[in-house]
Amino acid sequence: MNFFRFLQGSLKIIFKGSKNYYAWLLFLLLLIIWGAFGYYGQLSHGLIKTHMRDSVSWAFYIGNFTFLVGVAAAAVMLVIPAYIYNWAPIKEIVIFGELLAVCAVIMCISFIVVDIGSPMRFWHMLPLIGTMNFPTSMLTWDFFVLNTYLIINAIVVIYLLYCAFYKKHYNKSIVIPLVFLSIPMAVGIHTITAFLYNAVPSRPFWNSALLAPRFLASAFCSGPAILLILFQILRKVTKFEIKDEAIWTIAELMVYAMFIYLFFTVNELFKEFYSGTEHILYWQYLLFGIGDNHEIVVYSWSSIIMGCIAFFLFLIPSTRKNFLTLNIGLVLIYASVYVEKGIALIIPGFTPDVLGQIYVYTPSITEIRTAVMIFSLGALLFTFLSKIAIAIIFDDYNIDSLSSSKLVSNTHS
C-alpha cells in the first residue's frame, strides 16, 4: 500500500473517458484560456482593468467569493439531514458533498487572490513569516477557517477514496470525528464571512445582525441545488442510488431555508423602510435606483423574481415532486442566490459611498473573464475529482485494476 500508487491510479482514470467527457474538458479548457488572457491584462496593468474604483472598492470578485463560501458550507451541512433521515447511502453523500466543498473553497481563495492589489505580498498576512493581525482583523479569521475547512474536507475525502482504492475498511474513529468537526466548521466559514462585512459600521447596508443568518439561509438554498442536480446525474450514469423520497426531502428542506431567508429579508426591509432613516439609501439604490442610476435594479429584481418562482415551485408538493419543475426550480434558486451574493450584496454596500457620492459600478469584461476562468478551473477540478470518486466507489476501480491493466498493456506491447 502506498500513496503514490493511489495518485497514479487517480491520474490514470481522469484521462480515460468517452468523447463527451473529452468534449466537456475541451470546452472548459477553452473557457479557462479565454478567461486567463483577461486576467493576464489585469496582472500586468493592475486592478484598473476592473470597474472598481475608490467609491466601490470591492465588487464582483468579493461577491463571487461570498457566494462560493455559501456553496462550500451548504455542501457539508447537507450531511446533517442525510444522517438524521438515514438516507442511504450516507458515505456517498459525504464524499460528493465534501468534494464540492473542497472545490468551492479553492475557488473562494482564488477569488480573494485575484482581488488583491499586490498578490505577491500575500505572505504578509500569514503568521510567523508575516505580521498577521490576529485576532483583530476578521479577514485573518476568515483565512484561518477557510483553510482549516479545506484541509479537513480534503483529508476526509482523500482518506475515504484511498481506503476504497485499496479495498480496505476505513477507520471510523478517524473519519467520524472529522466529519462532525467539518459540520460546525461549515456554519463557521459562512458566519465569519458574514462578520467580515458586519464588522464595518461605516457601511450601514451590512451593519445588520441579520446578515449572518441570512447568509446561512441563502446558502442552504444554493448549495443543495448543485448537489441535487449532481445526484440526479450520478443516479443516471452510475450505480449511485438515491431514492426519490430523499431528493424530495432535500427539496422540502430547501423550502424551509427559502422561507426563513424570505422572512429575514422582510424583517430587514420593514426595519429599513418603516424607520426611513438615511440608511434607506442603499436599499433604495438596490431596488429602485437613485435619480438616473438604475443600473443594478435589473439584477436585484431578477434575483427576487427567480427566487420567488423557485420558492413556489418547491412549496407546492406536485411541482416539487415533478422532476421537470423541480429542476427548473433548482436552476432558478441557484441563479437567484448567485446574483444576490454576486451583485446585490456588495455593490449597494458601497453605493452611495460613505460621503454620499454615487459611482455606478457594473462588472468589466476583465472581471467577467477572470470569474469565468476561476469557475471553469473549479469545474475542471470538480470533474476530475468526481471522475476519480465515481470510478473508485461505483465502478470498483481499485489497486487490482491498476496492476491488471498494466499487465494487459504489457502483454500488448
Partner: protein, 296 residues
Amino acid sequence: MEKENSRRSFLKNISLATFTTLAVSGCNMKAIDEFLQQNFRTLSQGEKDEIVKNLEAKYKEKYEKDTHVSDKPAMEGVLFGYALDLSRCIGCRRCVYACVKENNQSRDPQIQWIQVLQMEKEKGIDYAHSTVHYNPEKVPEQGHFYVPVACQQCRNPQCTKVCPAKATWQEPDGIVVVDYNWCIGCRYCMAACPYGARHFNWGEPNLPVEELNTEMHYLGNRPRTKGVVEKCTFCVQRTREGKYPACVEICPVGARKFGNLLDPNSEVRYILENKRVLVLKEELNTQPKFYYFFGI
C-alpha cells in the same frame, strides 16, 4: 552512449542558463531584498536607515534627481490635531491641489486625498445631497457651504483594526500611516473607513518628474506603487520637522488650523476651548482628531 552525452550536456546547459539568469538579474538582487523586506514597525533603526538609503538610490535612478527620504519617528509629547473653519471655507480646492503636489500623488490615474463636498445650507451636513463635482465660474455659490474631507486621523481608527497584515497603524503622534511596502492591497481598510479617506493605486501611478517633491518621508509622500493603499498623513514629512501641512499653508482664507493637542497654548486647543466644534459621524465612535468649527 550518445544519449548519455546529450543528457549530460543538457544538464550542463541548464545549469549554465540558470547561472546566467541569476548573474543578469544581479541588478535585481535589490528587488529580491525589497520583496523580502519586513513590516516597517518590526525593523531596527539600522535596518530602517539602510532601507531609506536604498530608496534614495532607487529614486535617483528612476527620476534622476537627488531626494531625501526621512524615517524620523514621532516626537515626544506631541499629538497632532486639526481644525477647519466651515464658516470661512469657500470651496476653492486649492488645498486639494497643494496636497497632490506636496504628497506626490499620481496625476494619471488621478488620486486626491482631500475631497471637498459642496452642501446646501438649507440641509446642513447631509452627504446624500452633497456633491464633489461642483464646477461653477466662481466659488462660493449662493446657498452653499463646503466641507473638505480627508483622513480624520481617528483616535479609534476602523481602518487599522481591519487590516489583516498590520500594514497600517497609528503612530505615537496620532498620525495613521501605511507601510506602502507591506500593504497587500486587499482594500478592507477602504471598506471600513467612514470618511472615504483611503485611496487605492488601481493602476501604475504616474508622476511628472519635474513636479516630484524631493523632500519625502518613508511613511508619507514617497512615490507609491501599483496595488497599494494611500492616505493623508498630516504631511508627516513636514509636520515632524515643525512645519505646517501643505493644505494649511495654501488656504487663502485661513480656514485651516493645525497644532499640538497636548500643548495648552496651541491654536487648536484655543479653538477647542472657545469655538463651537463638531466632528463628522460622531455616532461611529471613531473619535477624530480632525475638528470642524464655526469661527464667525
